[in-house]
Point group: C2
Chain length 443, copies 2
């Protein structure tokens, strides 16, 4: 019987005898044991009638006993207890499981033990819920989930910072003899392939890992992260913006319902009003404003020119000094010079049919656009951006056969988990974060 | 209005005026247009009252017209038609969209157009359904979905054939100066990390891409494929075998219900009795037999020694000459010499608490075991298999803190799609297959 099940069905289980299995989380006065079995954030208390030898946090117990109600809390009076698993005391005493406060930085030093802490298992529960909700949302709307390739020779975003994949020691000189007979990289996005799938399936989405070999050691960058990328036939900019807002609100609405206890714990842990913050996003219409207007507004406060990207400092100014309501900000029609080649260009020939959504405190999590469907215009963009046409010819060819208006967006999933959990560092929302200097599980 | 919606609600829509958008699939006698919009395997027929210029397969149409019933089929009598998207006739005439039969080999030469064919979009629909069903199955059973890392320094299976990940040109000599300050590979399995998560969350599963740099050019090998890997606390071999059988039967039951039309089309396309084959798997208890017995049985027909792996030739013999009922075969207690280091060893010190499930015609799709939880025994296995202990120390450490009985299995997702669709070549069940010599989207 799981603790989740017991709590849910406590009324009919009170005074009954039950079996549970779980790990010791706390041990007080040699008499009170808190057990967790992973099924829920909640522990269940075992009240010992006599002392037991060699109880240690982290040890596994199998308990048979009577479920009782004491001061409105459920407890178990044990009739039989069996201990499993050895404890290496020396290792335990230097571990993050030792019963005292360990900050998040310390937890990151023993990533393989983090799952056994209340804070990290709580984040993992929310991450799981967000994953399942994402699939539910798109499946219900008749989107098809597409597994786009990880090993690729594309450079979708034109970022250039890609990981090479090789089976050779000296890659660059002998790549023709390499595994794929060609240079190979880790994908930075599944969008282009998703577009090709969309032309047969109408509505598709990806949900998989992508990679950036950027030397960024910040709170919101990972070398390996998960992206959700829907691509929809016949959608224009207005419709794709609406879909992305709707998607975020769906997730938040459901998480507020499904993960109430987890959010309350995180509020307390992070000393932030997360629930209020999320309700604010969920209840209000996102603010929509053009890039041109944003630049005019920002220019009054901070020196910024048309054509500049909006950096995190300016993002902060926007929410602190201008849009004080803490509602997400949709900025649309970005200059083509700072956006990828595949975005459809407006009639002004300067801006693209594109949008980013900025969230208070967090910054950009979503970006999207109409996709250029004209062969000629796309070819022009590819040349202007100096992209190797050989690598992108297949994508161009799609435009030769009845390609019309379509749009898509990308969501940084890990940043989304940050937004929902209120965690400051992105390394705390993914099981084994990868960043410059770290591809290990034990540091 | 999607074609899926129209077909579902045809009774109330007959004689009503409707809008549809989609692609021209067939064009006959200058009068009959078949339209598909990706929402379903089914087309809808437009009956033209007068000829229209420049209609071409692949072109996009927006049609407004009256839905009528003719010989029990629904058709649209158009009142307004608009064409979108240009067609490059020369490109079209050499493409796989041209209206004649193209074999699967030919389709693979233009992977980015495959989604627009009936056969490949059908496979993609089933692949999508299997993905969603997988998440539903585990979510309902309170498993947590874990995103295990792709870039790693583990070699879980001890296969050795891994892709290096680098940002250098000369990797092996200067890896300390490389991006991660260490050698980095693409993961071959998420199991070890999933186990660490399981110790906090009780039941977990992964569903993500894994990689093998094997020079295998067969019908069932890919360099990049998707794996599902559940790991469950407190489970023994018997329970994990039961779970895996239950999981497969759940998928088949649901697919038989959700994807009836797709399966009928595939039966016809592949000239195979897929539905009967799947029902047979779903309705019968899988046959359970020990490795020892299988060797004795096989030895009467084919020369095979205790300790040998069961190759695909012997798999065929098992189903053709011995187990003729076409029911999956669970072979358990494999020799430790041919299984990975993490499998729990039986008291005989020769075999492991492991199992593989073989499927008629397809072979192995699932393998699993109890995991070794004793620190000492695991250390011994690591040494025997000559695995670099530095790389696996974190995994060993898990055994220092109350680790007890647990089990897991892995499913090759693409082979599962092969099983359900009856497709012979694994390259036909994944959008952009990766194999030796091929990391491209257009060949």
């Amino acid at each position: 019987m799981t603790i989740k099940y017991i709590i849910k069905n406590k009324n009919k289980l009170i005074n009954k005898k039950i079996w549970i299995k779980g790990w010791v989380k706390y041990f007080r006065n040699n008499l009170f044991l808190d057990i967790n079995d992973g099924s829920t954030i909640n522990n269940i208390q075992i009240v010992l009638k006599k002392k037991i030898k060699n109880i240690n946090i982290g040890i596994t117990l199998k308990v048979f006993g009577k479920l009782i109600l004491f001061n409105n809390n459920i407890e178990i009076i044990p009739l039989y207890i069996k201990k499993y698993g050895n404890i290496d005391k020396k290792f335990f005493n230097n571990s993050i499981l030792q019963n005292k406060f360990h900050n998040l930085h310390k937890l990151r030093k023993q990533k393989y033990l983090r799952f056994r802490t209340k804070i990290f298992s709580t984040i993992m529960r929310i991450r799981h819920n967000l994953s399942i909700l994402t699939h539910n949302y798109f499946n219900k709307k008749n989107f098809y989930y597409i597994h786009t390739p990880i090993i690729t020779y594309n450079d979708t975003e034109g970022v250039g910072n890609m990981f090479k994949v090789t089976t050779l020691d000296i890659h660059n000189k002998y790549y023709k003899k390499d595994f794929f007979g060609d240079k190979a990289n880790l994908t930075v996005s599944g969008q282009l392939e998703a577009e090709s799938a969309m032309l047969g399936l109408r509505k598709v989405y990806t949900f998989g890992p992508v990679f950036r070999a950027e030397n960024s050691n910040t709170n919101k960058h990972l070398s390996e992260f998960w992206m959700i990328e829907p691509e929809i036939m016949f959608y224009n900019l207005k419709k794709i913006i609406k879909l992305s807002e709707n998607f975020i609100k769906y997730l938040i609405k459901k998480i507020l319902k499904n993960c109430k206890e987890e959010l309350l714990f995180l509020e307390n842990y992070n000393n932030k009003k997360i629930i209020k913050y999320l309700k604010n996003i969920y209840k209000n219409k996102f603010i929509k404003i053009s890039y041109n207007k944003i630049i005019k507004i920002l220019n009054k406060i901070n020196k910024i020119s048309w054509g500049d990207d909006i950096n995190s400092n300016n993002e902060k100014i926007l929410f602190k000094k201008i849009f004080k309501k803490k509602i997400p900000l949709i900025i649309y029609n970005w200059p083509k010079t700072i956006k990828p080649f595949y975005m459809r260009i407006n009639k002004d020939n300067l801006t693209t049919k594109s949008f980013d959504i900025l969230f208070p405190y967090i910054g950009e999590i979503i970006g999207g656009s109409e996709r250029e469907y004209s062969y000629k215009k796309l070819l022009k963009s590819i040349k202007e951006k100096k992209i190797n046409i050989k690598k992108i010819n297949w994508y161009l060819n799609i435009r030769k056969l009845g390609n019309i208006q379509h749009s898509g967006f990308g969501v940084g999933f890990d940043r989304l988990v940050q937004l929902i959990t209120g965690m400051k560092n992105i390394r705390d929302v993914i099981p084994y974060p990868r960043y410059p200097g770290n591809n290990n599980n034990d540091k």
